[in-house]
């Protein structure tokens, strides 16, 4: 479902080339649960950005769901990102002035879905995630765990092909973090492809397949 072929990413920093990724090959099957681990500066974040279409490889190709997405324009990439990828971030990244329900609704709004359809989908997901009662609350009125559930609901609302979770428990206590991971794993159990990016070996160890990044290269891919 996800295939990276010989992907490199080079940044120019202060006149010097920094090779964040060097000739990475990676294949991820539909429904897989895979963790990408590595110390900071190993190319982990660059990998996430490229998988999430937030960044383009300097060379190589990225095939998502049978489509070469490296050749797409910015507008087309936005569409692919909206429809096929769900992000879960360490810092939740909820819009502070919008309610939980409105945050979850946001991808549907961007996609131009009609209000009736939106409301129904949002309420179904919030109910499923056990936060329906908090639908009208703003992020600052929610606990960390609730915020991350809202963020996961938002990632799921478009029924994407894969969820990219970037240190999803990094900002939560152990218990809440555990609940969030269970929620993600439950989604994976229902067939959702789950890519977990973390520097936490214990967390990463839970995935069925582990990839390590080191110095821009990938081991175990």
């Amino acid at each position: 479902m996800i295939t990276l072929r010989d992907v490199s990413r080079t940044f120019v920093l202060g006149g010097e080339s920094v090779h964040a990724l060097r000739g990475v090959n990676l294949h991820i099957e539909r429904g897989e649960y895979i963790s990408i681990m590595g110390p900071s500066g190993s190319g982990k974040s660059t990998m996430l950005n490229i998988l999430g279409l937030l960044d383009r490889p300097s060379s190589g190709t990225y095939e998502l769901d049978g489509q070469d997405v490296t050749a797409l324009t910015d507008e087309e990439q936005s569409r692919v990102r909206r429809e096929k990828i769900g992000f879960v971030f360490q810092f939740f990244h909820l819009v502070p002035r919008l309610s939980a329900a409105e945050n979850v609704e946001l991808p549907l709004v961007l996609a131009g879905a009609h209000p009736g359809e939106r409301r129904e989908k949002v309420m179904r997901l919030l109910t499923e995630f056990g936060i329906a009662k908090r639908a009208r609350h703003r992020p600052d009125q929610l606990s960390g765990g609730e915020r991350q559930r809202v963020a996961i609901a938002r990632a799921m609302i478009m029924e994407p092909a894969a969820i990219l979770a970037d240190e999803p428990t990094g900002n939560l206590d152990q218990h809440t973090g555990g609940e969030v991971i269970h929620l993600l794993e439950e989604l994976n159990a229902r067939g959702m492809t789950l890519v977990l990016i973390t520097h936490d070996a214990v967390l990463g160890g839970r995935a069925r397949r582990h990839i390590r990044t080191l110095d821009g290269r990938v081991e175990g891919g």
Binding site: L54, S78, F91, P107
Partner: protein
């Protein structure tokens, strides 16, 4: 993204930054209010002048000797030298034209009037009984010049209210004599106070028969002939007929200038419309200042909302959508500011109308709608740069961990 969603989202983010939004609304509304108030002043001046001219009588025609190239200029009033004089006989001939109500020949000379050892320098008009209707004069005592052949140089006069008082005090001047040059004139009437009219103070005026004035000051030509038509509709045909008749009498030469109230006031009209445009333009400068403020504040907003923009991109917002969201904010702000500004501006012109009832200060429609359109255009134009900057943000950087 659906249009109501764009508007709603933009509205929510404006609500989220209340002070900033209010400042921008304020800047825009000051700009629009300035346009509305200043143009309403210009328009008020235009209507004021137009009303003044209409008080002259809209069915008035003035004939001057000499051919003026431009209409309504001072040159025509000053130039008196031509091949043919405009004579009392010319004026009398006009009487035959259908549609004419009154014809009054006129000479106007600055001269000395004296009585009982008192002297005054005053404007002296030589005219006929009909000037009373053209100038709208009435007598306070005695009577006006009697209707008679204008070639008759009768030795009687009518005094303005002020000159009568200055020469005779509280005594009645009727039947008394005043001296003009080397001749004596019997006072047959005193005008009711009227004040300034067509740039001359009627209360200072001494009016004598036109033939007497020509003899007294050795004039061969009239200064002008005033004609009043029966109605406003009669003005164009009467004007054409006057031109034809005088050409015939002057040996086929077009050597007179014929002015109508319309032509004079429309010349002023054009000037004052230009003035109103200029005032509107000056006010529009304040809009440019508002635009720069909007741009500045929007740029700050983009910087403050970097992570939100990154998030929107991660959720699949295209660069185009991001631009639209920022445009929508600018349009909303400037529309609200524009509407508010025109309301404030209208209130301002209402206050002006209250304070100066003579000046009908109504903002012209083009200024109100133009001000609104300009406000929105300014909002959009000055949000291009911030919107582009937002759309060009690298989402990976924008979302980077803190």
């Amino acid at each position: 993204m659906l249009t109501p969603d764009i508007a709603h989202f933009a509205w929510r983010s404006l609500e989220g930054a209340r002070t900033r939004s209010l400042l921008m609304v304020l800047a825009t509304s000051i700009g629009v209010a300035a346009v509305v108030v200043l143009t309403s002043l210009g328009e008020g001046a235009r209507r004021y002048v137009r009303n003044e001219f209409e008080s002259l009588g809209t069915n008035l025609i003035i004939i001057l000797p000499g051919r003026a190239e431009t209409v309504g200029g001072g040159a025509a009033l000053a130039s008196g030298r031509t091949a043919h004089d405009l004579t009392i006989e010319d004026a009398m001939a006009l009487r035959r034209i259908r549609g004419i109500e009154h014809v009054a020949p006129l000479n106007l000379v600055e001269g000395e009037v004296s009585a009982r050892g008192r002297r005054r320098d005053v404007p002296i008009s030589g005219s006929s009984s009909e000037i009373q209707h053209i100038w709208g004069l009435s007598t306070a005592s005695g009577k006006f010049l009697p209707p008679q052949d204008p070639r008759n140089a009768a030795p009687h006069c009518v005094l303005g209210s002020k000159v009568a008082r200055e020469l005779f005090g509280t005594e009645s001047p009727l039947g008394q004599y005043v001296r003009l040059g080397d001749r004596r004139f019997r006072v047959i009437g005193v005008l009711a106070p009227k004040g300034e009219f067509v740039g001359v103070n009627m209360d200072d005026m001494v009016i004598i028969p036109v033939a007497s004035a020509q003899v007294l000051f050795n004039l061969s030509s009239l200064l002008r002939v005033g004609v009043m038509t029966r109605s406003r509709e009669d003005v164009p045909p009467v004007k054409a007929e006057i031109a034809r008749l005088l050409r015939e009498r002057h040996g086929g030469e077009d050597d007179v200038t014929i002015l109508t109230e319309d032509a004079i006031s429309s010349a002023f009209d054009r000037i004052l419309v230009a003035l109103t445009f200029a005032l509107g333009g000056i006010a529009a400068v304040s809009m440019a200042v508002a635009g720069i403020l909007i741009m500045n504040v929007m740029l700050i907003a983009v910087a403050q909302r970097t992570s939100e923009i990154g998030l929107l991109k991660a959720l699949g917002a295209s660069p185009r959508q991001i631009r639209f969201l920022f445009f929508a904010e600018a349009v909303l702000l400037s529309a609200v500011g524009g509407v508010l500004g025109s309301v404030v501006g209208q209130a301002g012109s209402f206050v002006i109308r209250r304070l100066f009832p003579a000046v009908p200060a109504f903002a012209p429609l083009w200024a109100v709608s133009g001000g609104l359109a300009l406000a929105i255009a300014t909002g959009v134009a000055f949000s291009v740069v911030p919107a582009r900057r937002a759309a060009a943000l690298d989402p990976a950087l924008a979302l980077a961990r803190r």
